[in-house]
């Protein structure tokens, strides 16, 4: 599909290439506490995009000189696995991955109450298992769950989703095809509870009106994802309660 020279028709009869309405999210799955060694972990899928996140800490900082006296250092690594794309991705960290690691870290930092743990480190690992668009926002959603699972105090959960413009229509939660052939894509992450946007990027061209429309759509999507996150976290404890 990716090698077609012809640009596919992205919107047919008001339906998108995968049959969704413009303001519809892909089917979302979330599971918390999937890894034993990590202090906190989560696996999240948005349609075919599947991302695993693991959190360690607060733990001793190694090397020691990077420690900060007034708060925890937060380190984040975003990585796409070799088999996550149609064509094998070189396992070496690319420019894109290094940049996304920084962007994701900055999207999560405002939520983490790092001032409670001076001279420690919190490590976040985000591994993309299968990439089909919106991996950074899926990664942020998974990492926020993993942080909460690790018991790290947070001001709020962070949820993210990518919106875009395809065939002149503003659409929610774009997939890889829409990202490649669309006119614009805009990943957004926010803390819905405290009303703060922590990530806002825009690739392509949107008019002022389209931008506000897209942002409103993204925030509406984020609300839904946020509720799913809370449900996923609660589920972990409700299951043991029911056994009793």
């Amino acid at each position: 599909m990716g090698l077609d020279k012809e640009r596919p028709q992205l919107i047919v009869n008001g339906r998108r290439i995968d049959g969704r309405a413009p303001d519809e999210l892909r089917p979302i799955e979330m599971e918390v506490g999937v890894l034993k060694n990590a202090d906190g972990s989560a696996i999240v899928s948005f349609g075919n995009t599947r991302v695993l996140a693991a959190v360690y800490g607060p733990r001793e900082v190694m090397p020691k000189h990077v420690a900060m006296v007034d708060r925890a250092v937060i380190r984040c690594r975003y990585r796409m696995l070799s088999f996550s794309t149609e064509e094998r991705k070189s396992p070496a960290p690319s420019r894109r991955e290094i940049e996304l690691s920084k962007v994701i870290r900055e999207a999560l930092e405002p939520a983490i109450m790092s001032e409670l743990f001076p001279r420690t480190a919190i490590d976040i690992f985000i591994e993309v298992l299968n990439a089909d668009g919106g991996t950074r926002t899926t990664g942020i959603t998974a990492a926020a769950l993993a942080l909460a699972d690790a018991g790290i105090p947070m001001r709020d959960l962070v949820a993210g989703v990518a919106v875009g413009k395809v065939d002149g229509v503003i659409v929610l939660d774009i997939n890889k095809v829409e990202d490649m052939y669309g006119e614009a894509d805009m990943p957004v992450a926010a803390m819905p509870g405290v009303g703060r946007i922590t990530l806002l990027q825009l690739n392509g061209v949107l008019s002022r009106d389209e931008f506000s429309q897209a942002l409103a759509l993204a925030l509406r999507g984020i609300r839904k994802i946020y509720e799913l996150q809370k449900e996923a976290l609660r589920r972990k404890y409700v299951s043991t309660t029911e056994e009793v």
């Binding site: 800490g57 607060p58 947070m154 001001r155 803390m191 509870g193 809370k230 043991t240 309660t241």
Partner: protein, 257 residues
Amino acid sequence: MWLRCSTLSKSKPILYFQSRDVVVPGDVIAQGDVEIETPSYVTKLEDGRVVANVMGLLNIEESGEKVKVSLIPLKGRYIPRPGDLVIGIVADAGLTAWFIDIRAPFPGVLNAADYLGRPFNPAVEDLRRYLDVGDVVIAKVAQFDRTRDPILTVQDKGLGKVVEGSLIEIEPSRVPRVIGRRRSMINMLQELTGCTIVVGNNGRILLKCPNPEVEAVAILAIKKIEAEAHTPGLTERVREFIIEEKIKRGLMSRGLG
């Protein structure tokens, strides 16, 4: 874009959860004037909303107009506090102090002079003669202020090197449940199993049992407490569990229970 209620009423606050509910980060617990027990992972926003910061069990105390909220986390690393009892494993021996793994983000420092109870001269003696890497010690956190590594002491009753017993680890945030209200859980465990149990605040538990069978029962019981820490009526359930397990293993006959 975000709906904000700024109706700050001085009257009775609105509660959105009940006591003993499981809350997750971002959950709005209440709106209005409530008292927050410190330290607890609950914050008040400018608009009067009271929000949870960690996954945990909610505790709400209402007395007339006053509402007091606190949150017991379900998970999280151990952060030392002065006065805590910890069970540590020696990680390294320095010149005049041992560095002890206490499952915290910082190594515990146990000074040789404190351990030996006399001045220590590193020129004539080697620390490893007394405690070597891998040895287990029961200690107390003497001082810790987050600017330096926690200082440990063994100068108290029941502290010092451990020579026998089995060590198990649980989630540090669930230690209060293993001890129970006014030590009820731990007393019941010791009574029913005949083991001597030392619970460290850092989630390490040392068991000294008369025989391996009761030890197995005690460990299973502790693991059960850990898994069901957030559920009510735990002490009674664990009591039944221990009796059941003992009968199963032929350590007790049904009539005696």
